[in-house]
Symmetry: C2
Subunit: 340 residues, 2 copies
DNA sequence: ACTGGCACTCGCACGGACGGAGTGCCAGTC
DNA sequence: GACTGGCACTCCGTCCGTGCGAGTGCCAGT
């Protein structure tokens, strides 16, 4: 029906105008700025229907309309074409990310880049340990009965852990331990690390058994259940930009939730690399994120997902633009990390 | 002169009241809440003098007085006794920091702890590389002509760097390289790393010279000049708490400056572990920090300073309390890191 | 040197009036 | 049946004037 179609067109126009102006948008302004080919009065009728269906709402009688979460959802699902990035933006991505010296640097640059491109708060998850494999294990003695374990994964991530040994160890034992551990764990996926332990204990020379047991216990415990995945956050200054407008002064819980990390991490865990995931307002369950939207996507290749990244902002955000930026950055980061 | 003494007493009272109420404080309220033994009228005279001397100011005629930066400075220098922490707070520090599993964790906990104790934005500097020494160097081959260097310092910090080698290397060469590097650098202060290179090159077997040269160049370059020291920041949500009140809505530049890191890092570089350094408002030179105060102190022992930590907040802050908290936390962290 | 009293100054909160934007509805037109 | 122009109505945001209260500076008195 030509009817419904125009109504959707009206919704799209409302979302676009509202996002760019931040004012509730009225029928007259709509008719002027978009050539829908109909008069304001007609638009008013359409808007009445849209309101009844729950896609838009008016803050108060005799104000313009504002999209609801449901309205944004429809917009994202059906009305928004992915906005291709400008050449300048593509170049910015490359220039920004090339020349990063290590993983930490890559992620730091990524988060700054995303924040800058989208003018939102950016969030990047460290490559998840559980999805990667052991590349190398290093054992360093720091005291007579204390060792430092350093784990290097094939995603370039480095993890360290201090272990107190039951007895004092000497340099020879450390070297043996290092060899044993590397033999047992190198190339093994972190999630499977636990399975190696029995074998390892059996092949270990008797005088090292106790030591190996202690060390591998710590290793498995900290690696198989990487309790705290890390998150890099940037661009919080963007929250202050339109804060009063966008979050009606209550950006505090949002900042707190971001610092908690755990909330965001849970949301991140659902991403995959092929589709950009958008969560709008109330869809976020978590209280502090009501009124906020997340645009997230996984990075890494399909067969080896590494983690997620995205942006957090007011529901009133430029979805097509942010989706495009998030996706482009994720791709580039994925390539970058796949190489190294 | 009993005169001057009471005037200072008045200033102290003004600072205390203003910090706790956030209202400009008038002569009458002062007389009521502090028993200075004189009438409001007398206090008014004192206040007039204090204002003339630039220690306090009134936002507008017929409002109470507010301390100026100069007033806070005097307060901090001469009027504030260090407020001892409560037993509960001491316990909180221990409970919070014990059980940290690695360096990252320690610093993360520290920053959260500080933010919570002071209700301000907390900042913790990673132990500075240049002040520490090499404990171990690890070389891992990640591709035919690409190596991953992992440096472990005696402060427990781990640094990684990727090096592309001029020629392909085999496992034997990697092992030799590892041995050579460790022999040359272990125990050497990072700042002195450059001095070892000539010796190293001389003792290296001819067929490894090129490789050693490349690798040690990268090593020295990235380590002797640790261009980017890292910073952990937390408690930004506290900015939003009284934002409108404390920063008159302009907390954005502050958030930006914090994300820059470089500004704060420069300020951090001046700390030492024995005295708490307070910078008030305009004293901070940097524009975005006008209106903000920093309370910082170094951590680590006198003979081995590791880095700095502190809090950032509005000039209108509880200086004695924050100074006490910052110092206590720094001490504890210093011990914690000295042990490991 | 301190105090009580007094006139004065402002900022701020309250309240009413006004204008404008936007709506819903209805009658008219293609 | 779909669209349009017109119209009355609602309600928000702003502006302005007023009154109040807090706080000051000054002065005369103890």
């Amino acid at each position: 029906m030509a009817h419904d179609e125009r109504r959707l067109e009206v919704l799209r126009a409302i979302v676009q105008d509202y996002v760019s102006t931040n004012d509730p948008v009225g029928s007259k302004a709509l008719a002027e700025r978009h050539d829908l080919g109909v008069s304001p009065a007609t638009i008013r009728n359409d808007m009445a229907v849209l309101e009844e269906q729950g896609y838009i709402t008016q803050p108060h009688t005799s104000a313009g309309r504002v999209p609801t979460d449901k309205g944004y959802r429809l917009f994202v699902d059906r009305l928004s074409a992915v906005k291709p990035l400008s050449a300048a933006e593509r170049r910015a991505i490359e220039r920004f990310l090339d020349g990063a010296v290590d993983l930490h640097d890559v992620l730091g640059r990524t988060v700054r880049l995303l924040a800058q491109l989208t003018r939102q708060v950016a969030v990047v998850q460290y490559p998840t340990l559980s999805r990667s494999a052991v590349r190398h294990l290093e054992v360093v003695q720091v005291a007579a009965a204390r060792l430092l374990l350093v784990l290097i994964t094939d995603t370039g991530r480095v993890e360290q852990r201090v272990v107190d040994t039951p007895v004092e160890v000497d340099a020879g034992a450390v070297a043996d331990l290092r060899a044993l551990l590397n033999k047992a764990f190198t190339g093994v996926k972190l999630t499977d690390a636990g399975d190696q332990v029995p074998d390892l204990l059996e092949t270990a020379p008797p005088h090292l058994r106790g030591l190996v047991a202690t060390v591998s216990a710590t290793l498995v415990e900290t690696l198989v259940e990487p309790s705290e995945d890390r998150l890099v956050i940037g661009g919080t200054a963007n929250l202050a930009r339109g804060s009063a407008l966008d979050f009606s002064g209550t950006m505090r819980p949002l900042l707190e939730a971001l610092e908690e990390q755990v909330v965001v991490l849970r949301l991140m865990s659902e991403v995959d690399a092929s589709t950009v995931l958008v969560r709008i307002g109330e869809e976020n369950a978590h209280e502090a994120l009501t009124g906020a939207s997340l645009v997230t996507v996984g990075y890494g290749s399909a067969d080896r997902p590494l983690g997620g990244l995205g942006v957090v902002g007011p529901t009133r955000m430029d979805y097509p633009g942010n989706m495009a930026a998030v996706r482009a950055v994720a791709r580039y980061v994925g390539h970058l990390l796949a190489e190294s």
